[in-house]
Amino acid sequence: MGAYVVRRLVQAVFTIFGVMVFTFLLFRVIAGDIAAAHLGPKATLQQKKDWAHQHGYDKPLFINTGLEKHKHTVPPGEPWEIRIEAGAPENVSIGGAPAHTVAGVTLVRTEGKRIIYQVAPGEYEFTVRTGQPWYDSQFVKYIVTTATFATRSIITNEKLYSIIVERAPYSLALTVPIMAIGWAAAMFIATIVAYYRGGLLDRVGVFLSVLGMCIPYLAFIIGIQYLMFQIKPTMAYGLANPFNVFVPVGIGVLAGLGGNVRFYRTVVLDETRRDYVRTALAKGLPLRVVMFKHILKNCMLPILTNLILTVPFLIMGSLLLESFFGIPGLGDLLLSSINNRDEPIVSGLTFLTALLYVVANLATDISYVIFDPRVKLS
């Protein structure tokens, strides 16, 4: 058992590392003009370069070779003044030789960290020895700040930790009741429908569930919010009164009911087909007794483990509900952070979710081993 846990822990670490690599790559890929996203359309190119430099987005992606290359092309005509940030002239070279020894390049002066050259027309590639260590790269910085939860939002400069503490309660106030009520309601309905299997109730149940699955989430939200505005407008938006939260909770439960009932019904029915149930029924026990004493109990394990696997995503809240009801939760934050390219928040939240998910997986695997006698460790 101990060996099993250790093995799973090792796998968990690999998974988390995998998630971080994935999100890093994905985000860098989608980043687009991240400086423009933060500076707005009226920023100049130079401002954007400076911003990228400030936030370390011009550092090498994975490994820092300690060398920076700058290409400059001077058009025919007057020589140009080119400024290179290098610390000292020894650090600047062109094609292996110190820059100022190359034909057409003269060292004019140094200003602080900047070396100023006068360059005749032509094409040059300056190589600057930055003296930066190999680990001074975007990926390393990303891993370190994310793993220590030290990330700060680019936009507001708040710590991720305080943002989560401030917003998570709102998301949870929405998703936890939805999960709890959804589970209870779906369980109740699924049991009844499975009990009357094949009858009219079953068919109607399936029909309604599929109907529920097909009505778009948006339609639920808009329809019910519209109704609320007619009946009791103050409850239709916002959390001025904390009980207002039950309106979006209700919507969430209703919208998810269809899918949940289908799934639970399938689990219960699969269990009903097992040999021990046929034996018990053959022995003359009424279905009701068999259901309550045996079937439901055995269904709980797959149902609850399925539920636990959704727990890590609870903290993200429901995007649409938060947006329509003005609930300042984390789901809305994630989407807007992706759109605004607030990269530290996106990676921080994804990392948190992945961490929770891996922990939840571990918990369910171990609970399977403890509670299900059929499962053997290999």
């Binding site: 995998g18 097909c214 339609a219 995007l319 994630l334 996106v346």
Partner: protein, 313 residues
């Protein structure tokens, strides 16, 4: 004397009941099941609409008429018109093409991928299993929305194998198939892996191993055939997932190319329409989606019943 007894012997043989394979038996059951037959017919109708759409597309695009924008249902337009004055009934039928192809293509990618990886993981165990489990746990840990958005951005504007007949327009519909396929193979893989672990221990498989049969043979001839029934069920349910995903992707702005009618864009476009009383476009798209999803669900259920060995007595 001997002649007559020989003839009666042969007659007896012919009177023995014929055995049936799993597939033949399932087919026979389904043919009798009215709900299943109805579902297949519905799916067939949608498939025909999808094919017909390619021919009707140009007419639809040309039928724009700004003066007829947003008309309610009438005799000429049974389901009203959209913002550009085009017939909503035709638009809904054309939308079937997008949904059917998305469902088909995304699952054609996801199911085989999940099947192969799950079978390999379950069969070989250890390192292979570790890698596959690591892969799908990692992907599952990233919130699905972020993964879809990220993939779609990564694909924006890129075209693989440009100029060849196999050009993959990643920024357009092909990227959508791949993105959905990549996100949905995980469920299949999990289920297949669990099933493979059970099949691996069956008698005839262990016998084949003892006989020294190669891994490839065992996989192809013993394991995978026993997984096919699972694959079919997962395919029909996965179809549903792909169709609904298209709707969500439209909401996020990542759906089909501009100008292509699809249920997702119709639903997404209609947010305030319901309040204003413009119900026809949303209802048409939702109803169309409802029937195909219902048909697929029922078919999937019946297939599971038909292919489940325990139900056959």
């Amino acid at each position: 004397m001997t002649e007559t007894s020989a003839r009666t012997e042969t007659n007896h043989l012919q009177d023995l009941p014929q055995g049936r394979s799993l597939w033949g038996d399932a087919f026979h059951r389904l043919r009798r099941d009215r709900a299943a037959v109805a579902s297949v017919i519905v799916i067939g109708i949608y498939a025909v609409m999808a094919v017909a759409a390619s021919f009707l597309h140009d007419d639809f695009i040309a039928s724009k008429n700004y003066k007829l924008s947003n008309q309610p249902p009438s005799a000429q337009h049974w389901l009203g018109t959209d913002v550009f004055g085009r017939d909503v009934l035709l638009k809904t039928m054309l939308g079937a093409k997008v949904s059917m192809t998305v469902g088909l293509m995304a699952n054609l990618i996801a199911i085989p991928l999940g099947l192969i990886l799950g079978a390999l993981a379950g069969y070989f165990g250890r390192r292979v299993d570790d890698v596959v489990v690591w892969l799908y746990t990692t992907l599952a840990s990233i919130p699905g929305i972020m993964l879809l958005i990220a993939l779609k951005y990564a694909f924006q504007g890129k075209v693989l194998f440009r100029g060849t007949p196999f050009a993959l327009d990643l920024g357009g519909i092909h990227g959508l198939y791949i993105a959905l396929g990549v996100v949905s193979w995980i469920h299949t893989c999990r289920v297949v892996r669990a099933e493979t672990l059970k099949i691996k221990e069956l008698d005839y498989v262990t016998a084949a191993r003892a006989l020294g049969e190669g891994h490839a043979r065992i996989l192809f001839f013993h394991i995978i055939p026993n997984l096919l029934h699972l694959a079919i069920i997962l395919f029909s349910l996965g179809f549903v997932g792909a169709i609904t995903a298209e709707v969500i992707l439209s909401f996020l702005g990542l759906g089909v190319e501009v100008g292509t009618p699809s249920w997702g864009t119709m639903i997404n476009a209609a947010r305030l329409d319901l309040v204003v009383g413009r119900w026809w476009e949303v209802t048409a798209a939702c109803t169309a989606m409802f029937f195909i999803v219902l048909a697929l669900n029922i078919l999937g259920d019946r297939l599971r019943d038909a292919l489940d060995p325990k139900l056959r007595t």
